[in-house]
Amino acid sequence: MRDVLLVALREFRQIVATRGFWVMLLIVPLAIGVSVLVSSRFAPSPSVAYVLVDESGRLESRLEQRLERDYQRQVLRELATYVERWQLGAVDPAAPWAQRGSWLVEPELSRFVDQGGAEAALQRLRPSIPAEAPEFELPERLYHRFSPPAELATTEDPEAFGEAITPLMKEEIETASGKMPLALAIYIPENFGASAAAARVWTNGRFNSGLLNVVQDELTKELQLGVLQASGVGSETATQVQSLAAPIIITEPAAGEERGFFATRSVIPVALMYLLMITAITTGSMMLQGLIEERSNKLLESVLACIHPSALMNGKLLGLGGVGLGIILVWAGCAVAAALSSSGAIADALRMSIEALDQPWMWGAMIFYFLAGYLILSTIFLGIGALSDSMQDAQSYLGPVLLIFMLPLIVMMQASLRDPNSTVTQVLSWIPIYTPFAMLTRLGSGVSLAELIGTTVLVVLFIAAQLIVLGRLFQASVLNAGKPSLRDIIAMMKARAT
């Protein structure tokens, strides 16, 4: 064990002393930090402007009312989330903002608007908002009406209007709410609804389906209203028909329960799976490079005169394991520190994810599968290093091996986006080289005790076999020069002693 620790310490120090290690260690937190900063500070606003020329006079007020109602729906949804996050529902349990799904229910939305919207709600909530809670911020309006120059607004020719408005759509325009792209220009002809009299829409090339759907929806309703009235339905009745919405009552599990709970509980294990993949492959490559250097420098013989090849092999695995764990700890530490020091949605999600891992066995299982996955991958890299004289040699082994390794995992990752317990993931749970990755993916969504025990035994046996085979390979090949054939490799794996 002393020899193993000596080798491990040397390996650890050697890698930590390289510039590449520090670049890798810092690049992930740095990249996350920069991307968060960029997205929060420099991300383009989702708001767009639109121009409406309504020669018919039938759509203008209808569209504005609809956009305002949609905006209030957005306000209610975010306010309800805020109230739930800071546990303010007790202020008025019957209020629309005290229910998570109320924004989906038209009468509730109407009640919210009738009661004065966000301003009135915040007045009631403010005395109960905890000091650490940030101020509720009204969401940004997505659509802003832009009044075009008079000469454009008064045209009666849609083609001329289109030609005149198109140049404005190429750049951002100045509106009352600031600069933003002009996304849509809508022209409603005077005889809209008559045969062949279509509304015209010009876009800036970036398809804005949200606004376009609203426009089409409201135009359709206007046409439907015309048909109803022509059929003898009174104007008031026709309007009532159009505003009808099926009453629904939505019952959702409380936050942190049922399906939502499984998703929340999966965040950390799945993140760990991705981190495992990144660190194992990165540090495995470093180990590969180190071993090839030792082989090409011909210094292995000096080392092997002092210690057994298995001690050298295990020392390398341990040293590299230490490097990998160190990287994970630093990355995880940065992520937790960044999330906890901020009070945004990421911090909330992370806090909930940690809280969701409320059973100690889950932490144990996560650590076990992480270490097992790391060991399995590192051993493969070490085996390749023991057979290679140069990085070129190593690449010829590494390509097919990584392909075999990565392809099923990519399929699994895609499948697990829909269902963490997909058939692919379940099957891969029982193929040892994929077991740690599949089990980390499934851990949060519930696995049976039998599966946990079974896969643990399987992985332990596989790693033991892997170490024995690698030991033989290592002993037989580290002092050999040249690239062995497949038959040689198999013979080395079978050989008990050199």
Partner: protein, 316 residues
């Protein structure tokens, strides 16, 4: 050729007894038996592929023999012996990014030394090899000669009882060869037994007390330098007026050149078992006039050629 007996093996610091090593169908070492007694310098001589490196690797337990028995320091080969062994492999290399002192200390630690003792010994060796001011330099920044000294220090750091050197002079310039020769002599003087393999006879002539000649994995000679030379008759060159072929101990006399005044130089081969001194005595007794009488002992190179054959790759 001296024979080694069981007692000899029992007292030896390194012994091979009917050791064979096969790699698949190829036999690298065949039925090899020899013993190295404690103290002195023992040479492993042979051309390329003679089995020198394989034998040393078996002594270090890097390779296991297919048959036979090896004892090192009175024990079977294992890493347990590493604390008392120093080893310099033929193909040398060091961790390029590691500092000089750390490298030597690391190898001392691998051989079981405590950190303090390893550091003290490493500093002394680096001082001795003129590298005291380079202790913090990465090995990759050293010249080749300096790096080889560092490598030698890694072999000597544990003050080994048995120092195994595999082709230690290969790739060294004359200055560093001298330094290494001094180090080998010092090590032998300081109670280490030095075993080194070489195919350069010059080094063996200067350093070895005993020799083992290998050819294609087989032992062809084992004994002292004098015993090796005695295996070939000495060459005698004399200048006389008469042909020495008729003298009793002479088997053949070849005329090299002759002068107008009647004196001629002959290269003489003696009959087996005859000594040049006896011939000189006979000449004096018989009044056989001599102007010169030069005895030339056979070189190790000639001994090697005699035993192994001229086709083996060796260097004088």
């Amino acid at each position: 050729m001296p024979a080694e007996g069981g007692d000899n093996l029992n007292r030896a610091i390194l012994s091979f007894e009917s050791v064979t090593k096969r790699f698949g169908d190829f036999t690298a070492v065949h039925e090899l038996s020899f013993a190295v007694q404690e103290g002195g310098v023992f040479g492993f001589l042979g051309g390329n592929g003679a089995g020198k490196t394989t034998s040393l690797r078996m002594a270090l337990d890097i390779l296991r023999p297919s048959e036979g028995r090896i004892e090192v320091l009175g024990r079977i080969p294992s890493r347990e012996n590493a604390a008392e062994i120093g080893f310099l492999p033929e193909e040398r290399g060091l961790y390029r990014n590691m500092k000089v002192l750390d490298t030597v200390v690391y190898f001392g630690r691998l051989k079981g030394m405590e950190p303090g003792a390893a550091r003290k010994s490493a500093l002394e060796l680096l001082e001795r090899f003129g590298l005291a001011d380079r202790t913090k330099s990465p090995v990759g920044k050293l010249s080749k000669g300096m790096a080889q000294k560092v490598q030698l220090a890694t072999a000597l750091v544990n003050s080994p009882r048995l120092l195994l050197l595999d082709e230690p002079f290969s790739g060294l310039d004359p200055v560093n060869q001298t330094i290494l020769e001094d180090a080998i002599t010092d090590a032998a003087r300081n109670a280490s037994t030095v075993v080194f393999s070489t195919h350069v006879m010059q080094h063996a002539e200067r350093l070895c007390d005993r020799l083992l000649l290998l050819a294609q994995g087989r032992k062809v000679f084992d004994g002292t330098k004098d015993e090796a030379r005695a295996a070939l008759p000495s060459r005698l060159t004399l200048t006389s007026r008469l042909d020495p072929a008729s003298l009793p101990s002479v088997s053949e006399a070849r005329l090299v050149w002759s002068h107008d005044d009647g004196w001629a130089e002959y290269q003489v081969e003696l009959r087996p078992g005859s000594e040049p001194g006896e011939l000189l005595e006979t000449c004096t007794q018989q009044g056989f006039a001599l102007r010169s009488f030069d005895i030339t002992r056979p070189t190790l190179h000639e001994v090697f050629i005699h035993f192994v054959g001229a086709e083996q790759e060796i260097v004088r």
